[in-house]
Assembly symmetry: C2
Homo-oligomer: 269 residues x 2
């Protein structure tokens, strides 16, 4: 991988520093935050501010899921703007938006994530093909995780269809990502943790970094998953959202959150 | 198709009234609006307000492309909120956002489009499968156009891959949409106008309504395309964005816009 990419080099540093592959998913849900906070945009922002201030020494990245902010209305997006500024610049922000569209629209989408919110990385849906992904990759100092094999049951519907070539569709997506990565040097894949295909997918290209959701609430195990999915720089981003954020409704939530991270998502070595 | 669906029944009425299949795409770009307007959010909103006030008798729907509003920052989204309220309730709003994600996220995405902006229909990316699309379909009084075969060159990369089953991926998507439509009664497909496959795709399911981009700036012909893509209720939504919005930079833009619509996008019969 391209060690000069600012996102990737920060991830390498943070992985060494924290002895963890943990990316904390910020999926704000006013109904799930600790009881001491008002279940509103304001209360949620206070909660997430505390989360960031008390976990940035323990994780390698944050992944705000923009849809959860959008569902709180435009005030939710203003909150996202402020939180993106609050996150220390050493901890990269993957703005999980799963965009992708024809060229002139994709340019607007990329500008939204990188110029408006100042994200360091994006997630991109590859369905519509190269000209819908490349406007993201043109942001060369940013990093882009392309959906390949996701952690949900619906992955069977299209991603896991067998092509006439003998490859699965997700394998074709990964091959295409390898090609894009050779040109741009800033490409990774989203690979779900709950999949039995983890080992074979990892063998397909040992260099691409994976962003791996599905650990925690969705059932994947952190240690097994990280061992199976690290690339040849020992890099993987294991995303946990609900399993960290909503660990307790009581006033002990920060202690519990840190304890869970250290116990479950940090290497004992 | 389900004639009781509020979106679909409005489209039928509007098609008869206007003798047109035209859906006007609202893709605001401050640098392309007529010179009399300031190239800002404010100027763009004034321009789009005039467009809506002067074309709603000539089109069957509006399709704001949310990415163009997002790229103008959060003020751009506030503008979208106001414009959605301005559009007469007889003219449905397809909010083109191409979302789709695992269940709990897709619910948030659908809520954003329908509860926050009050859209009547959405566009959905099917890549991640059924559980990522169904939270949209659960909004039963709304309508949902699933990406199947798009108008860009990148459609060759994945959509047009041949499956082991002997079908193309886009044919498999259309088959799945037919199945979803049997359950939910509110499903259509996005099919690009520039494709040689239009006739065969139309034969695959004569009931699904198509939303067809690619006419105008992207090269497709309106009359040929609408003849080839109408369903068995004579319904199709032909989207034109740049070919209507940016027809003139001069003060005659409203006259020119109406003339172009009547001349190019209205049936002479």
């Amino acid at each position: 991988m391209n060690l000069n990419n600012p996102f990737y080099s920060k991830i390498i540093k943070n992985t060494k520093r924290t002895k963890s592959h943990l990316c904390i998913g910020l999926d704000p849900d006013p109904l799930k935050i600790p009881s001491k906070f008002e279940p509103s945009v304001k209360g949620t922002e206070k909660f997430l501010t505390e989360v960031i201030q008390n976990t940035s020494d323990l994780c390698i990245a944050y992944k705000p899921n923009i849809s959860f902010f959008e569902a709180m209305g435009i005030d939710g997006l203003r909150m996202l703007e402020r939180l993106c500024k609050l996150i220390p610049s050493t901890i990269p922000i993957i703005l999980d938006a799963k965009r992708g569209d024809i060229g002139n629209t994709a340019k607007k989408q990329a500008s939204y994530l990188f110029d408006i919110f100042g994200a360091d990385a994006s997630t991109v849906n590859p369905f519509m093909g190269a000209d819908c992904v490349e406007p993201f990759l043109e942001y060369k100092d940013k990093f882009h995780f392309i959906l390949a094999l996701t952690s949900n049951p619906g992955a069977d519907d299209f991603e896991k269809l067998m092509l006439k070539s003998g490859k699965f569709l997700y394998e074709q997506v990964i091959d295409t990502c390898s090609k894009w990565n050779k040109t741009y040097g800033n490409v990774g894949c989203v690979i779900g943790a709950t999949k039995s295909e983890l080992a074979s997918v990892r063998k397909q290209d040992r260099t691409l970094p994976f962003l791996v959701p599905g650990v925690g609430a969705q059932g994947g195990d952190y240690h097994d998953t990280s061992t199976q999915t690290k690339n040849d720089d020992d890099i993987v981003l294991i995303n946990v959202s609900r399993g960290v954020l909503y660990i307790s409704k009581e006033d002990d939530y920060l202690d519990k959150m840190r304890t869970v991270i250290v116990k479950n998502y940090t290497s004992k070595v």
